[in-house]
């Protein structure tokens, strides 16, 4: 669905996107993760057709997005910092979107009205930040888009509303094969909804994998070794902490393979633990920050 190849964007000498490449399959929920200043929002603004790249290619279904209304009319974009005309009401915006987006579904708009419980006549300036975000989702989902691009989308939404919004989005993905690209710092949330993850750092894509593939590549284990035993020599240890005789290790490799090798050291206790996406992010990116080159797979 989305193909980004060697995208470069500089702001007065600062390279915000540095030869960035990314691929999002159709129907995927792609989580874009990265620290502040990684270039996530810049990439998303390119995807939304706001920015023009210095070089490289950005395609949606094989077509460039920039200055291409045909592609943009199949896309819904919710920025991190929402802006609507202050004096406009939700209904005013609905009228505008209905005329600009051929896929706008009025019945869907009516149905979603029950979910969001906002009065269509509400002026945007009278809505709280969270309510404005709800209005944005309401309008975006009513477009019946093929691609949804979300930049830090659920900030400001209460937990119940977050769940409902994600539920609507994911049902759209399941029913219509909508592709979703979402950037977020809320790694736990992405873990629940994403099936693909891209980790960005300093304008580059550090890694891009499906979530299961990513989780399969790092292993967290707790173990206690006998006093005369040591860890196998060639283990790739990303993190090690020791509490008494209990060691906690983050290792790179396949879980089965590493468990088998550790078991060969006849540990008194060995317990493989699941890694959260947050832990994967911290250890992968922590390595980059400390210039551990071999973090790049």
């Amino acid at each position: 669905m989305i193909q980004v190849r060697s995208l470069v964007k500089s702001f007065e000498g600062f390279r915000a996107l540095d030869d960035l490449s990314l691929t999002v399959p159709r129907g995927a929920v792609y989580g874009l993760v990265g620290p502040n200043g990684a270039g996530k929002s810049t990439l998303i603004r390119h995807l939304a057709g706001i920015y023009r790249q210095d070089s490289g290619e950005l395609l949606v279904d094989g077509e460039p997005v920039y200055e291409n209304p045909a592609v943009k009319s199949r896309m819904a974009y919710i920025p991190d910092d929402i802006f609507y005309y202050t004096q406009a009401s939700i209904r005013d915006l609905m009228h505008l979107y209905r005329e600009l987006y051929p896929g706008f579904d009025e019945a869907c708009f009516e149905r979603l009205g029950e979910l969001f419980r906002l009065a269509p006549s509400s002026s945007m300036r009278r809505l709280s930040k969270g309510q404005q975000k709800q209005a944005a989702f309401w309008l975006a989902l009513s477009l019946r888009p093929d691609l949804v691009v979300l930049d830090e989308p659920v900030d400001g939404l209460d937990p119940v509303m977050r769940r409902q919004v994600w539920g609507e989005l994911l049902s759209d993905v399941a029913e219509r094969g909508t592709t979703v690209l979402v950037s977020s710092h809320n790694l736990r949330e992405l873990e629940d909804v994403c099936d693909h993850v891209g980790i960005m750092h300093r304008g580059r894509m550090l890694l891009e994998r499906s979530l299961s593939e990513l989780q399969d590549n790092l292993v967290k284990v707790q173990l206690v070794l006998p006093e005369d035993r040591e860890l196998p020599a060639d283990l790739e240890i990303l993190h090690r902490s020791v509490t008494g005789r209990l060691q906690q290790l983050i290792l790179r490799g396949k879980a089965e393979e590493l468990t088998a090798r550790l078991a060969a050291a006849e540990p008194l206790f060995l317990d493989p633990l699941p890694l959260s996406l947050e832990e994967i992010f911290i250890y992968e990116l922590g390595g980059a920050d400390h210039e551990v080159k071999d973090i790049l797979l």
Partner: protein, 610 residues
């Protein structure tokens, strides 16, 4: 596959209209107040008081276009600010550019949505005014002309405002840029002339502006005018330039679209939105401030320096101005105060250019100060509004000019403004070119003995036969029917020394007689129409006790349906004790003639009694 290009989108247009309707509403109200409601009163007043324009009411209607042009200039920039506001806020910019619309669609929609209501308001005002002015029987085409001029102004200024709108990313900078670019050529010319005036002996600080046409707003205020011609026809000056502005407005709109297509939307908020213009902005600011600062400081502090001190102060201010302009521009571009010592190479280049300019002007490297035309090169010369065509007088004017050049050390009294008596010499050369020099001479009104040699030359030139003849020659035939007023003011003293002021009103017949037998006769002998630089000079007898003012007007003859015409002339003469023919006429035809006496005697009589 890309969608085809469209320059208009109705939903966005509706959205803009819904959001910004107050802008056009206010414009319409001001338009109605300043034209529709004002015009009947203006016409009524003209007819009631029988002003010269009474004969051509169309002129009054069209004269309103000058104010409307200024109003259009203001409305244009406010409308552009509203229509293109999506370029200045990064959040709004993001929202608008994520919509499925091409940039040219947004641009075209904003352009049309902004301009159309302005033009509609003008059309409405023209129709309503034609309606309320029906009783004055003005032809409808007169209002169509008004509409045409106002529409042209609006297209011109709106195009200019739209062009400014895409150059900047900051909505507050837009009106500033608009005003600055509208006036920059004129102001720059004024400031460069001001600095040259301080550095170049003989150069004029003021005078006709050669670059006025590059400042549309200033041009519309200063050069565009509507008046009644000699044959009573409506004359509109500057219409061609206005049409050129209209075309320029459209071209600038096209240029704005090209710039917008390439514009980076991340520049929302930047002072300069087009990266390639950032160096130009720095250089313009540096040179602009360099020339504005000396003139501004001189005006504020009323500097009165001369010689090397003046030159050094000017040089210091030029360089300081360039430094400030350069780094202010850098601060605005970077939005940071920590800019000093960056990009110093460019600043050095600016300072070097200014240094070369200073040296060239101060040390007269191009021979500007020394240049005096040979009398044979000169077709005509004007000295302080006195025109000279006779060869002998041209030679005298050239000699006067040469004398000023030779006496530079005496007359170069410095400062950035004229001090003393100003003498302006303007040549029209045989090759069609013009040359102008202006000098100022210190005059001591109390002293006549020490009168400057050059001033004496100037006075002699002003009292040549050619100059006097021009002063007494009338633009209308000397006939009674043209005389509108003729008065003689006398300050008299009787035998007892009592002083009184008398004003005699002459009949047209008397006026013609006095002018022919008195004024013209004395002028032929060089006894009237003389010019004196200082009042305390031999020959300037009784300068203040008898004056003659004479007005003439040619009014239209509507009775025979002749084309309306209007011409007028007004003269004022000081009558001296040596103006024998005038005094003889007064003695013969009035009761006051015997009482006229020289001013000193008058004063002495009054003093003796008092």
């Amino acid at each position: 596959m890309k969608s085809k290009t469209s320059f208009f989108n109705a939903p966005v247009c509706k959205n803009l209209l819904r959001r910004f309707w107050p802008v056009w509403t206010v414009y319409l109200i001001v338009l109605l107040l300043s034209f529709t409601f004002a015009m009947p009163q203006t016409l009524d007043w003209a007819l009631r008081y029988n002003t010269p324009q009474t004969q051509n009411l169309e002129v009054l209607v069209l004269q309103n276009t000058q104010a409307q042009a200024v109003l259009a200039a203001i409305a244009a920039v406010l409308t552009a600010m509203a229509m293109y506001s999506y370029l200045y806020n990064s959040r709004l910019c993001g929202m608008m550019n994520s919509l499925p619309l091409r940039r040219e669609t947004m641009f075209g929609t904003a352009y049309v949505t902004g301009l159309a209501p302005l033009l509609l308001a003008q059309l409405l005002a023209a129709l309503l005014t034609a309606l309320v002015c029906m009783e004055y029987k003005l032809p409808f085409v007169c209002f169509l002309k008004w509409l045409g001029i106002v529409v042209l102004s609006t297209v011109a200024f709106y195009g200019f405002a739209v062009f400014c709108a895409v150059l900047t990313g900051n909505i507050l900078v837009l009106p500033v840029l608009y005003v600055v670019l509208n006036l920059t050529a004129t102001v720059a010319e004024l400031c460069v002339r001001g600095v040259l005036f301080g550095l170049c002996y003989g150069s004029a600080a003021n005078g006709g502006s050669y670059l006025l046409f590059l400042s549309p707003l200033a041009y519309m205020v200063r050069a565009f005018s509507v008046y009644t011609g000699a044959s009573g026809e409506t004359v509109v000056t500057g219409l061609g330039m206005l049409a050129a502005y209209g075309v320029a407005g459209l071209l600038l709109t096209a240029a704005a679209l090209r710039i917008l297509r390439r514009r980076h939307m991340e520049c929302a908020g930047d002072v300069v939105a087009v990266p390639v213009l950032k160096p130009a902005f720095r250089y313009c600011m540096a040179f602009g401030t360099a020339f504005v600062l000396p003139v501004a400081i001189s005006e504020l502090l009323n500097l009165r320096l001369r010689g090397p001190a003046l030159a050094l102060v000017l040089l210091a201010m030029l360089l300081l101005g360039a430094f400030l302009g350069w780094y202010i521009a850098e601060m605005l571009i970077r939005r940071s105060l920590r800019v000093f010592f960056s990009r110093w190479k460019g600043l050095c280049a600016v300072l070097a250019v200014l240094l070369v300019f200073f040296c060239a002007a101060e040390f007269d490297l191009f021979g500007y100060e020394r240049r005096v035309p040979a009398p044979g090169e000169v077709k005509s010369v004007t000295v302080n509004r006195g025109d000279f065509l006779e060869r002998e007088n041209i030679e005298a004017a050239v000699a006067l000019h040469r004398s000023f050049v030779e006496h530079k050390s005496l007359h170069d009294n410095g400062g950035l403004r004229f001090q003393g008596f100003v003498i302006q010499i303007s040549y029209e050369l045989n090759n069609g070119r013009h040359m102008e020099r202006v000098y100022s001479v210190e005059v001591d009104p109390e002293s006549d003995a020490g009168m400057d040699e050059d001033l004496r030359r100037f006075q002699d030139l002003c009292n040549t036969r050619e100059a006097i003849d021009r002063r007494v020659a009338l633009s209308l035939p000397l006939e009674e029917k043209y005389v509108t007023e003729a008065t003689i003011f006398c300050s008299l003293a009787d035998g007892n020394g009592y002083r009184s002021d008398e004003t005699l009103r002459l009949t047209p017949a008397q006026a013609v007689s006095f002018y022919r037998d008195g004024i013209l006769a004395d002028a032929a002998e060089g006894k009237i129409g003389l010019y004196y630089v200082s009042e305390n000079q031999p020959g300037a007898l009784t300068p203040s006790n008898v004056q003659f003012s004479f007005g003439m007007e040619e009014l239209p003859d509507r009775q025979y349906g002749l084309p309306p015409a209007f011409a007028h002339d007004y003269r004022w003469f000081q009558i001296y004790m040596e103006s024998e023919h005038c005094l003889a006429w007064l003695k013969e035809n009035t009761a006051v003639g015997d009482w006229i006496c020289p001013a000193p005697e008058l004063e002495a009589r009054a003093a003796a009694v008092g």
